[in-house]
Point group: C2
Chain length 736, copies 2
């Protein structure tokens, strides 16, 4: 069923303009382009975000991804009437601006091609069908392809087509680019733009070729070089136009980006749209071959799962080990394109299991930014490497310290950059997972070990000895409603895991690669005293636990605060925090997202218990305690709850959480999809299915195992993972 591979808008829905621009984003990991129209639309939020191209504009607190010059514009007139998506029509009147009689927009998830088909009547009465197609090549990430097919449905209209590049682009309010050239090139066969970011100094080159069956002329209008052609289209005939654009930046080439773009545009245009499309589609088929999850018996979740997987894929850098996946992917301006733990714990795992080359790039991004992490540690008075909560190209901490101005004129202090320190362990966890699933010992020896060991070193210096136990003060755990607390059980327990892992790893490395072991021991100063200190921290770390209720305690004092069961605020279309307000929320037991539950997702039974209660019972107790307190104020929350609920056997609850997670973006349940996709929710959906419903895990003998617990109405679940270089396919079915 092809419709289980298609996201469709039938009939133009201007009230969802920005929401749909986000959903219809195309991309290839190098860049993402929102689904704005070729001819533009009033109030649109157009953006092409090239991964890694950050710039710190004047007057802004922090750097952000700089939206590139616009490569989309194609403007068409029919008998002089400009094509536009007219929103009000009457069945019997002919307004001078023409009538949109037909509209259908389809994102083909299987090929990453966005297609818009319109039926337009000009003021003259002549009718044309116009089909716009576009894709960002997955075969060659610098190549962007557009095709326009115009058919004369009624009459012999005079058509004008203008294809241009627009150097006049803003990031909502900030202007990041200094356009250095906007030119007609190659004797009129090519147009190009050269530009540089104002603060960070990245240079960019963009060149387009236009393939037209009618003669076209090139000209220039300010920062807009353009091709222009005009012709009479005979009744029932079609004309096809191709616009082939190439983009390079100084991030990807040592020569002039404009020269590189020009050469690539020339080659690609010579090959032509059809060949470029065939190669591109073949790459997509490759992608899906491993990454698709098939769900039979639940069409909505089948489509939503493909949709979320699509959005992870188009944001994942396949070509570059200095890039990661921004929290809103490359589909919007939200969170300014910064990198959070969302990558390592949410979007990276599906890559680790299905696209290990991409996962490796994402981890190398962190490896190459160890300098920034070491700088942050030393600036804060610690040893080792302490990764920034928000990261960009530089690897320095880029979390803003203050929120935007609130409606009441105040600003809120943002503490996550200071105190959400678990990010360093999240990265170490992702390195370990990558190693376990891929078996890539060389990566671990050369790069991964340094990340794990140097962040362990940070924690060794960070743990505080109070009396006879180690504590960690002033933390923010996953539950960001409770800031600057002492002894988050998530943090403390994960630090124990981290230090244990570091010791195990070093033991392994001494056997596998004594040279690398020696190199790191020397470089990171891993003296026997330091390792003994780690062992001491492991042994004496304070793990908050209630020995009467047999539960982990999110942090001491948590249960002394006001209890507000979140189900009382149902049905809500906003967070409980928004209802109670910031200041009251932090004084209650309302939790933003999976925190102790997240710990259970990451460690499973290894979470352990300090008394003789069975660990399964403690996990169930934890669930029963924290689930009713959780607000799901973060989009990261439902998928993790789905995973854990499925593992605990509560399949119905798991499905409710999963269904919610899978539709966060499609349904715009949080009302902010205009700012970009929720990347972590997308990656979480994949994990909820594979780790949750299928129960995929590596068993004690190192073999892959599944313990399927499918929702009752699912008939079949199938997926593929890579395990140590081999593809393994799993299918689980419900009994009929």
């Amino acid at each position: 069923m092809s419709r289980l591979w298609e996201i469709q808008e039938f009939g133009f829905q201007p009230d969802k303009l920005h929401h749909l621009e986000t959903l219809f984003t195309i991309g290839n990991g190098y860049l993402g382009t929102r689904g704005s129209f070729e001819e533009g639309f009033p109030g649109e939020s157009m953006a092409t975000l090239i991964n890694g191209v950050y710039d710190h504009a004047e007057g802004m607190l922090v750097p952000e991804l700089a939206s590139a010059p616009n490569w989309l514009p194609i403007q068409i007139t029919v008998d002089g009437t400009p094509l536009k998506m007219v929103t009000k029509t009457s069945d019997t009147m002919l307004p001078p601006e023409g009538i949109l009689f037909g509209y259908e927009r389809t994102l083909h998830l299987d090929t990453g091609i966005l297609e818009r088909s319109v039926l337009f009547r000009a003021a003259s009465g002549n009718v044309v069908r116009i089909i716009f197609q576009r894709f960002a090549s997955l075969h060659d990430v610098h190549v962007l392809c557009q095709r326009v097919t115009i058919t004369a449905i009624d009459g012999d209209p005079v058509i004008q087509v203008k294809a241009l590049l627009d150097g006049d682009t803003l990031n909502l309010t900030a202007n990041h680019w200094r356009v250095e050239s906007a030119e007609i090139l190659a004797a009129g066969d090519e147009i190009g733009i050269g530009a540089a970011t104002r603060e960070s100094g990245y240079t960019l080159g963009m060149a387009s070729r236009f393939v037209s069956p009618y003669p076209a002329t090139a000209s220039k209008d300010g920062l807009r070089p353009q091709f222009d052609t005009s012709f009479t289209l005979p009744f029932q005939e079609s004309a096809i136009f191709e616009k082939i654009t190439a983009i390079y930046t100084s991030r990807d080439t040592d020569e002039s980006p404009l020269a590189a773009a020009r050469e690539k545009a020339r080659q690609a245009a010579a090959e032509g749209y059809s060949l470029l499309e065939a190669r591109h589609s073949a790459e997509w088929a490759n992608y899906w071959d491993t990454s698709d999850i098939e769900i039979v018996g639940d069409d909505a979740c089948q489509l939503a799962t493909r949709f979320t997987t699509y959005h992870v894929l188009i944001a994942a850098p396949r070509h570059d080990e200095n890039l990661s996946i921004p929290a809103k992917t490359l589909s919007g301006f939200g969170y300014k394109g910064h990198i959070f733990w969302d990558t390592e714990l949410f979007t990276l795992p599906p890559m680790t299991l299905t696209q290990p080359d991409i996962a490796r790039n994402l981890l190398m991004y962190r490896y190459h930014r160890l300098a920034g992490a070491r700088h942050k540690a030393s600036a804060n008075g610690y040893e080792g490497a302490m990764y920034p909560w928000e990261s960009t190209d530089t690897g320095e901490e880029t979390t803003p310290q203050w929120s935007d101005v609130q409606p009441d004129g105040s600003k809120i202090r943002i503490w996550t950059g200071d105190h959400e320190q678990h990010i360093s362990t999240d990265i170490a966890y992702a390195v370990d997972q990558f190693w376990r699933w891929t078996g890539d010992d060389e990566f671990m020896a050369k790069y991964g070990a340094e990340i794990i060991l140097d962040t362990a070193k940070f924690w060794g210096s960070r743990a505080e000895l109070h009396g006879d136990r180690y504590e960690i003060s002033q933390q923010i755990g996953p539950d960001e409603y409770h800031e600057n607390i002492d002894n988050s059980v998530f943090v403390n327990r994960m630090v124990v895991w981290h230090l244990e892992m570091a010791l195990t790893l070093l033991g392994w490395l001494r056997i596998y690669s004594p040279t690398d072991a020696a190199r790191l021991v020397k470089f990171l100063d891993l003296t026997p005293a330091r390792l003994n200190h780690w062992r001491d921290v492991i042994a004496r770390m304070f793990i908050p636990f209630d020995h009467e209720k047999h539960i982990h305690v999110q942090f001491p004092g948590f249960f002394e605060m006001e209890y507000i069961p979140t189900e009382k605020y149902q049905p809500r279309i906003t967070s409980v925090q928004a209802i109670l307000g910031h200041h009251r929320t932090i004084q209650t037991q309302v939790i933003k997202q999976a925190d102790v539950v997240m710990l259970m997702a990451l460690l499973g039974r290894k979470i352990g218990t300090p008394d003789e209660t069975a660990v399964e019972q403690v996990m169930q107790n934890n669930w029963d305690t924290y689930f009713p307190r959780c607000d799901h104020g973060s989009s990261l929350s439902p998928a993790m709850h789905a995973w854990v609920a499925a593992r605990l056997g509560m399949v119905e609850t798991a499905y409710e959480q999963f269904d919610h997670a899978a539709h966060i973006d499609l349904m715009d349940n949080k009302g902010n999809v205009r700012d970009g996709m929720h990347a972590a929710a997308c990656g979480g959906v994949w994990q909820a299915v594979v780790f949750g419903f299928a129960g995929l895990h590596i068993d004690e003998r190192g073999e892959l195992a599944v313990t399927p617990r499918l929702p009752k109405h699912w008939r079949r679940l199938s997926f593929t993972v890579n395990y140590r270089g081999e593809k393994r396919r799993f299918t689980a079915e419900n009994p009929r």
Copy 2:
């Protein structure tokens, strides 16, 4: 999966206000009430349409269903802030009008209960959850129930609840009611309204009781009698209010409608919401027990099929044999609540096969209106009975002769009331179907035969002898784009069927009930000469047929007009007629809806051929000819195409048409659902599944048979039908 029984709106969608009011209509065949809010909303299109209560307002061309006084209003304030669906909220500001933090509206298709749950913060900061529930009792159709549950989520708010009846109701622009009393009754325990339609003189009584845990006082504000209570709701406590309303009109009682309503409201309120709901839900379970179609493997179509079946059920009169199903059900003002062939050929068949008592009522509606049909025949110079194209309570022709004023100031002459005469045969066809499926010989002898024979008598007088053949001029067939044409093959062929049926029927009746036969022969003047004339018309009727192409010809001259394949106008969100304009369309081969295809749906292989080509080949030829010419400008079209395509073995095409038909209202594909549901499309969906995909039919031995042709992705299809008093369940599965 309960979600396959639920239509949901999550988060208030004011841009779909009128669309959703239609979708969320509740009803019980006695009346329908649109899904407007208890507290109202600016620009809402509230209506309660009581079936059969028509009125001809001054200045209007024709009578229409008169929207009754509003029984819904319940107004709530929280600490003085009135509850309303505020559409703009900010997460941090407290506007004086309060904030809507939560919103969820669910129509429970299994029980016909509409539920809205909101989370509202007053300007004071206190938060309440309010759940509104309503249903129109299926157990006692005069009873309307509402329940409101208010819970103090934060703080101890002061709540005021006002429950009222609103006598000040308009039909968009026409005021049909003269309110004769709006009163406080029973010493303040009851409020009531007495009213009468201005022209038709129906009287109506409406009375409400209010069940409140706090003392309430009754008062009056103009035409709005109301209950009023005010109280402090302690933190975390709930208060439940019930408003029980009863309605009678002079259509349903010989005593005073207000007295009847008062007595019913008193009884029902004493029984209370819970008991009323239990009885109501039990009736719904009964309904679904036979009428549900189960589709496994296609959630969207499963839900849509239940949704369309729901809307047929709530409009179908179960209590009264003087009512039919309006073309827009009782869910909107479209087509003014008039009755068309939509009933007999679209919504009646599912009733015939699953709810035969209701089907009988629908046919009795026509039986009781034979006088109007005879009047129309004689006024037009014909014999027998000629049913009106648009029918109301009177049975007289009520098709308007002119359209509303078009945007260019003109009016268009409407010819359907004059020339769309096939309605009489459509009714005869429905009577015959009812007889074949139910085996209700007594109904046929007492009532059905008179309909079939007297309409046959009309056709006998209507057929025109030209040379050696009979012709029928000046017709409009199902394809209404082509008006006032001669020798519609649909009309001529169906008239032959009609006269054959009449002769067969009379033969049967002479054996089964000689008294009834004698009565009708005498009363209708069915002389041997008349019957011989019918035989002559049958033998010499002109059936347009192309002996070279081996196809039926829609009407002579059709193929001489301009050919415009409709697929060239793709994707369209409007009709081809709207694109080409009224005047050009009628000069082309563009067809509005199934016409020859409809003939194939009704007659199957009995359509016959005049030459030796196999009938199956002719049917395929007809399909290949007419399908590409069909515009589907009518919502009646896709389901019939689905049925015929499935019968011809083109399952993929059938599915496309079916999928479209099933979502016409949910997706608002035609953009006019604000005016009411497309009843015929709803009934067509059921037929497409049962007659099309399942291929249910009565075989030559009078046994039920199925020839399933399921869409590939459907796993299972199950449904139940009544056949001659017995329930029969069918299940078809696709091979795995």
